[in-house]
């Protein structure tokens, strides 16, 4: 005989899961008791939301679905923001929640919450398991759904008695058969032909790289395509890292907080190839204007994204990997017209400017621009949300590594827990967090997780005593009335680091900061660097 809880562990093992992030509670105890005997590592976070963010960071760096676990009721509801973040960012994730016993469901008992109902808008799919026998099929389907098609979170809610009940034997299914779920990954050959024709007939083509290029695992091929065709590339926030920042045809991030040169290129292009991006409002504020003068080719694995935000002339539904292969075959020796190449290169030079420095403060944009050269080339930079995110998105010189941030949902407090996941997925890489003093305080409880698991995560806090991005918004739109954006009561972050036994330092100039960073990356221990930033430093 085998219990549901044992089956759950065996399912995770069968899926090759090495790490789960979670927080226990009464209704998930049967599972935890069996997990205790397993070789799967459990990382105890300090709040459930961070388990989901850690799973997201883990997933984005390992390419495998991240797994997070919580108990029923408040444990489960705490997960929601993390699940919604993964959904908006198309990150594959399995969220496992305990639930009250089946016969108590719907009676509003202690720690009962309708979590499948609550998560409905934020999950790719969810299960409320009603029979122990169903567990293997449910897990198999959940991992399949999370990691295929447009990736996303799947929630499995398991009542305590389903975990406790025993059945005869365990067998993990080899295949899934979900009649209504057959994502189209192939890419339509005729559409690809039309797209290539249109590219060849255009004078100023431009590629927009999105997060879909990274989830498809086709980064290098994509770079090769850009190298060969010399089509200039701009990126959405989720697509940062597809191209090395110093690539001659790469212009940076587009959008309201993007690089002027990228927006200029988008404005002047006569054809845009959107690759695995949804082009939300922060990327293209006025999509109607864009499609008026521009031929849009949109490649996405999710047919619902095509035509949702931007009118598309040539839609191609499929996995970026397959579509790109077809395009490479089809496009032959095509190279972009010389004039367009030169125009773009000229812009790159003329748009470049160095941010002004303020004495006695760290200039965050200049520091982030230098950061990459002090790290190994596959470093993972995790940015939070707010000004720190924009400083990083626009200035970090990414080479072979990753840039993690939540571009879709924009959840403050993402960076520290996501870095926990990233470091566990890629223990040999440099993992550096850049956050603000606001966002850091949203998840600084996870310092305990970092210390408890000996994770050499380096945290750079850009301290301006402001919720900088909202304050900037208030400057522009609310007559400089700084309602609730001036932080007071902040702790001394250095003493906080001290309390956790984390090495730390403070910097008041870029030279000072750079020297500290050079030292901190050499150690295999966590580090907190507090950079004092001039409060009025703008985002762009």
């Amino acid at each position: 005989m085998i219990s549901g809880a044992e089956i759950m562990v065996k399912c995770l093992e069968a899926e090759g899961v090495k790490v789960v992030f979670g927080y226990p509670g009464a209704t998930i105890c049967p599972f935890y008791d069996k997990l205790y005997d397993s070789s799967i590592k459990h990382v105890l976070v300090r709040q459930e939301q961070n388990a989901a963010h850690a799973a997201s960071g883990y997933s984005r760096c390992s390419g495998l679905p991240g797994v997070c676990v919580a108990t029923s009721g408040p444990g489960a509801t705490n997960l929601i923001t993390g699940i919604a973040t993964a959904y908006a960012d198309s990150v594959p994730m399995i969220a496992i929640t305990g639930q009250v016993k089946s016969d108590l469901l719907g009676r509003d008992v202690f720690q009962e919450a309708d979590i499948t109902g609550a998560c409905e808008p934020f999950v790719k799919h969810s299960y409320l398991v009603s029979k122990t026998e169903d567990l293997p099929r449910v897990f198999k389907e959940a991992f399949h759904i999370a990691s295929t098609g447009r990736k996303g979170p799947v929630l499995i809610d398991i009542p305590m008695d389903i975990q406790q009940n025993e059945i005869e034997s365990f067998e993990y299914p080899e295949k899934v058969n979900i009649i209504g779920y057959k994502p189209n990954t192939r890419g339509h050959a005729v559409q690809v032909k039309r797209a290539v024709e249109a590219i060849k007939n255009s004078r100023r083509p431009l590629i927009v790289s999105g997060g879909g290029v990274l989830s498809s695992g086709v980064k290098l091929k994509f770079q090769a395509f850009a190298d060969k065709t010399k089509i200039p590339v701009i990126s959405t926030m989720m697509g940062i890292g597809v191209m090395p920042s110093d690539h001659e045809m790469y212009l940076g991030m587009l959008g309201t907080h993007g690089k002027p040169v990228a927006n200029r290129a988008l404005h002047d292009a006569d054809l845009v190839i959107v690759c695995g991006a949804r082009l939300g409002d922060r990327a293209v504020a006025a999509p109607d204007q864009m499609s008026e003068n521009t031929t849009v080719i949109h490649i996405d694995i999710d047919p619902a994204e095509i035509g949702k935000n931007v009118k598309t002339a040539i839609p191609i539904v499929g996995d970026m990997k397959n579509v790109l292969n077809m395009m490479i075959d089809e496009i032959g020796d095509y190279v972009v017209p010389n004039q367009w190449q030169e125009t773009v290169k000229g812009w790159k030079k003329s748009f470049f400017r160095t941010p002004p420095k303020f004495d006695g403060f760290v200039e965050p944009r200049a520091l982030v621009a230098q950061l990459s050269s002090m790290l190994r080339s596959k470093a993972i930079l995790v940015a939070d949300v707010g000004q720190n995110q924009i400083w990083c998105a626009n200035n970090f010189m990414i080479r072979e590594g990753r840039f993690l941030t939540t571009g879709g949902m924009g959840t403050m407090g993402y960076s520290v827990p996501a870095a926990v996941g990233a470091k566990l997925a890629r223990p040999t890489r440099d993992v550096v967090v850049v956050c603000g003093d606001g966002s850091f305080q949203m998840s600084m409880n996870e310092l305990a997780t970092i210390v408890g698991n000996n994770l050499a995560i380096k945290i750079i806090i850009m301290r301006n005593h402001r919720l900088g991005m909202v304050r900037e918004l208030q400057d522009f739109n609310y007559n400089k009335r700084h309602a609730a954006t001036i932080l007071s009561g902040d702790p001394d972050f250095l003493k906080l680091a001290e309390a956790y036994g984390i090495d730390h330092a403070e910097a008041n100039s870029n030279e000072e900061a750079e020297e500290i960073i050079r030292g901190m990356v050499k150690s295999d221990k966590p580090f907190i660097l507090v950079c004092n930033v001039y409060p009025d430093t703008p985002s762009i």
């Binding site: 409905e120 009649i179 209504g180 999710d302 047919p303 619902a304």
Partner: protein, 163 residues
């Protein structure tokens, strides 16, 4: 623009809320909704009638297709399908008016299914516009109660929607 969607779904708990939630979440109203099992007991068919422009309908079709238990979504094309809804109307009816009301029902091919001293109940199964006509005809007598199902619809001719 009014449109009719036929949706085949896996016959399991929670599917209806996933689908109705998808409409409300995006701020789209549903005019009518009907669900029932098909010839395959594992598959249910949902018929939704709603309003929206071409962009809205296209988005809805795509979003519905993303719901995992949804097997197929089809927009029925205007004029090429048969639609029916069932309505029961309880009409105020003094004995003196009974013959008149029965005559009206007969003309419309509706059925009288219950008679009480001051009421009759009329049953009618037709498309929405005929149903509206009957309601208009009975209104002057005083309608006490109306209950109607959502519209169900099926393609004309040889085409059949199946898994």
């Amino acid at each position: 623009m009014q449109y009719t969607l036929s949706i085949l779904v896996e016959n399991q708990a929670g599917v209806l809320s996933k689908i109705s939630g998808l409409f409300s979440r995006r701020g789209f109203n549903i005019d009518s909704l009907a669900v029932g099992v098909t010839n395959n007991p594992d598959v249910s068919r949902i018929t939704i009638v709603a309003n929206g422009d071409e962009y809205v309908v296209e988005q809805l079709e795509k979003q519905l297709n993303k719901v995992i238990p949804v097997i197929k979504v089809k927009r029925l094309s205007e004029g090429d399908f048969i639609s029916r809804e069932l309505i029961l109307i309880k009409v105020h009816c003094a004995a003196s008016k009974r013959a008149e009301i029965i005559k009206t029902a007969e003309i419309m091919q509706a059925k009288i299914v219950d008679v009480a001293p001051s009421c009759v109940t009329v049953e009618y199964c037709e498309n929405s516009s005929r149903v509206e006509t009957l309601i208009d005809l009975l209104k002057p007598y005083g309608i006490r109660e109306i209950v109607r199902t959502g519209t169900i619809a099926i393609d004309r001719g040889n085409t059949a929607l199946s898994v």
